[in-house]
């Protein structure tokens, strides 16, 4: 709801994102999504914090974090800048991708706008390539209903191979389901199996050569297939964080 204490004055200054788990069981959850789909609203509702929200794209420019408790477990939620893709074309995209990639979250919620599902799915698919611990949150279901847009969430979940939850974050609807899904994924009660994206024959061939080699050096949370593809695409900003690991 507009600027808040946390987002103005001294609070506007960037605090270094340092995630502190209270116990080893605490789970880190990233919230990704296109700009202006309600990530900050979901973040605020879940954590009780007051990040600046507003109906315009590009208002969150840094990662913000907050905590919530669901059942017996603590979750640390990280609100990352909204992006249309994870191709690192801009600073926001780089911040977003780097967090999903190197921030090592236990799960990633990708928020999608129910009224613009097709465009939002692009980011969902791109994120699914990076990590399999994904929960898709189709937000703004109330807006969609108002515009008479129907979405078959079950079918979407089937097609993507990951849990899909419908929410109307502004009125708080569906957030319990979302928290339950996050809980289940992090507790490994649900194991998402994202569909594999098949590329052209030649590209697949090249990936097949490189992937086994990448796998040897990679920690388990990253998808070796995607890393192989990115290495072939080798954008320079991507190589940089590798060197710090």
């Amino acid at each position: 709801m507009g600027l808040t204490n946390n987002s103005t004055g001294i609070g506007a200054l960037e605090k270094e994102l340092k995630i502190e788990r209270m116990t080893d069981d605490d789970k880190v959850i990233a919230i990704a999504g296109n700009p202006n789909v309600g990530k900050s609203t979901i973040f605020n509702s879940l954590t009780g914090l007051n990040q600046h929200t507003g109906n315009w794209p590009g208002k969150t420019v840094t990662n913000a974090q907050g905590k919530y408790k669901f059942k017996d477990r603590n979750f640390i939620l990280v609100d990352i800048p909204g992006t249309y893709s994870l191709m690192a074309n801009s600073v926001e995209e780089e911040v977003a991708r780097d967090f999903i990639c190197f921030g090592n979250p236990d799960a990633t919620i990708v928020v999608a706008d129910a009224t613009l599902l097709e465009r939002n799915l692009n980011l969902v698919l791109q994120t699914m390539e990076i990590t399999s611990n994904i929960i898709v949150c189709v937000n703004l279901m109330d807006e969609a209903r108002r515009k008479k847009i129907h979405i078959d969430l079950e079918l979407l979940s089937e097609l993507l191979g990951v849990p899909v939850i419908g929410t109307s974050a502004r009125s708080g609807k569906g957030l319990d389901d979302l928290m339950q899904a996050v809980y289940d994924v992090t507790a490994k009660k649900i194991v998402p199996e994202p569909v594999k994206i098949e590329y052209d024959g030649v590209i697949e061939e090249a990936i097949a050569v490189l992937e086994p080699e990448v796998k040897k050096h990679l920690n388990e949370n990253l998808n070796s297939r995607w890393v192989a593809l990115k290495l072939l695409d080798s954008d320079e900003s991507y190589f940089y964080p590798w060197k710090n690991i």
Partner: protein, 471 residues
């Protein structure tokens, strides 16, 4: 991932082999990217088709109709200015009555406090510091600042929640392009209305370093939360009085709109000058999404903007004004060479302040207001009150009398407003700029640019008016 992967021979040979396969088939990096993207898009399209069913294909029609007016070439800007005017009009009209009420209430309490001090036979100086010094000033600050903020902030948040800000950026894009800077600067400018420090952080949405720097340097040309109340208070006191009756608040609103538009024009002008001199370059292109209009949640807007913004700004004003009140009281009561320190200080600043249409006290208030702009008005009132012209409080118009009896004219009011709009950023904003630019040079520049602009504008206005014999 292992640190040495990039120098691992086995890995590198496989890497070269894989790259070779792509090259043999004529797949360059650009083509590879294209293929990756188009593949993902195809899957997205296919899946969306399967799961989404749209009953009414024209579901966007209303939004488009509204956009055709709000972002039209002819009506876009007039509608924008009119909206701004309506917001200010509601603020000023609505603020009048509660202001009176709060003032009456708070000054009734002051009388009771005085009774209490008399009853306890407290020393006179204690009553001076606590009641006529600190309490009285705080009472003025609260009754002048609270009502306009409590109305203005929710209204502004409402526009933001509806999705109007990107339309503003869209309307202004052409102007910003002409000023050789980034269209998204309109968005960071809008954030500046809330808080300049937040606006400066918001400049990160601008990718080009040159344009981001321009946006940071010029963000302070729009008045933030802390400065709006000063503008509104002065306008209500000095200009709304010219016309009586129902047009009173309309005139005030128009004057305020004129000042904001002037601030925007200065933003564009300074941006243009910067991009022709020290930050030369061409504007870069970008895409701007016009989000759908969304039904705002009125209740939550009101609660949040009152708790988060209004009380926050007011709290800051009160917290800083109270100790400042003490210091000023001491300054006003310590005599050196027959004059108190405050007068010495004000006299020292007076000649220069006169040149830019103000007086030493006002300039001192601006300087002392560096930590937070909210306290400029409180300091001015406090200083005047402490130097003798004590007035019993009955209603708000007496604040006007305090100012007039200290030599304020309409010209003083105009110059104070101009200088409020155009002067150095507050301490927090400067610190944020230092953090964002990682450079003291740019920070100093961001301090100097608005200050010098302000001094020049005030100088021209003050001396032109004096030459023409208008004041």
């Amino acid at each position: 991932m292992n640190l040495n992967i990039l120098s691992n021979d086995e890995f590198l040979s496989k890497f070269e082999e894989a790259k070779g396969i792509l090259e043999e088939n004529g797949i360059t990096r650009d083509i590879l990217r294209d293929k990756i993207v188009s593949c993902i898009y195809k899957i997205a399209e296919k899946s969306a088709k399967q799961v989404v069913s749209i009953e009414n294909k024209k579901y966007n029609e209303t939004d488009r109709k509204i956009d055709r007016i709000l972002t039209s070439k002819i009506y876009g800007i007039p509608v924008m200015i009119a909206l701004l005017g309506v917001v200010f009009w509601i603020t000023i009209t609505g603020a009048n009555y509660p202001s009176e009420l709060i003032a009456t209430g708070l000054f009734w309490i002051e009388d009771r406090l005085t009774d209490l001090f008399n009853l306890l036979e407290a020393p006179k100086w204690l009553h001076g510091v606590m009641v006529t010094g600190i309490y009285r000033t705080l009472a003025w600050v609260v009754s002048v600042m609270l009502p306009p903020m409590a109305i203005f902030f929710p209204l502004f948040t409402l526009l933001e929640d509806l999705g109007y800000l990107p339309r503003v950026a869209f309307n202004l894009d052409n102007f910003f392009k002409k000023a050789c800077c980034h269209g998204k600067q309109a968005l960071t400018m809008c954030m500046g209305f809330g808080c300049n420090a937040a606006g400066v952080i918001g400049c990160r949405i601008i990718d080009s370093p040159r344009e981001r720097m321009i946006a940071i340097l010029t963000n302070n040309f729009v008045p933030c939360n802390g400065r709006f109340p000063t503008l509104i208070a002065i306008i209500t006191m000095f200009f709304a009085g010219i016309v009586a009756g129902p047009f009173k608040s309309l005139i005030s609103a128009l004057i305020l709109v004129a000042f904001i538009v002037f601030g925007v024009v200065m933003t564009l002008l300074v941006s243009k000058i910067l991009s022709k001199t020290i930050l030369r370059g061409l504007p870069s292109s970008f895409t701007l999404e016009l989000p759908p209009y969304r039904k705002p949640q009125i209740g939550r807007i009101i609660v949040r903007s009152i708790f988060d913004r209004t009380l926050f700004v007011l709290g800051r004003a009160v917290c800083i004004a109270a100790p400042a009140g003490l210091i000023i009281w001491v300054l006003a009561n310590v005599q050196v060479n027959g004059l108190n320190l405050l007068t010495h200080f004000a006299n020292f600043l007076d000649p220069f302040a006169y040149l830019i249409g103000m007086d030493g006290i006002i300039l001192m208030a601006f300087i002392l207001g560096f930590p937070a702009n909210e306290i400029v008005i409180p300091i001015i009132i406090m200083s005047y009150l402490s130097t003798g012209s004590l007035i019993e409080f009955e209603n708000l118009s007496q604040l006007y009398e305090v100012l007039v009896s200290n030599g304020w004219t309409w010209l003083t009011a105009v110059c104070v407003m101009l200088f409020t709009l155009l002067h150095f950023p507050c301490g927090t904003t400067c610190w944020t700029i230092r953090k964002e630019t990682q450079s003291w040079k740019w920070t100093v520049l961001s301090f100097l640019i608005p200050t010098v602009t302000g001094i020049i504008c005030c100088f021209i206005v003050a001396n032109t008016a004096r030459l023409l014999g208008l004041a």
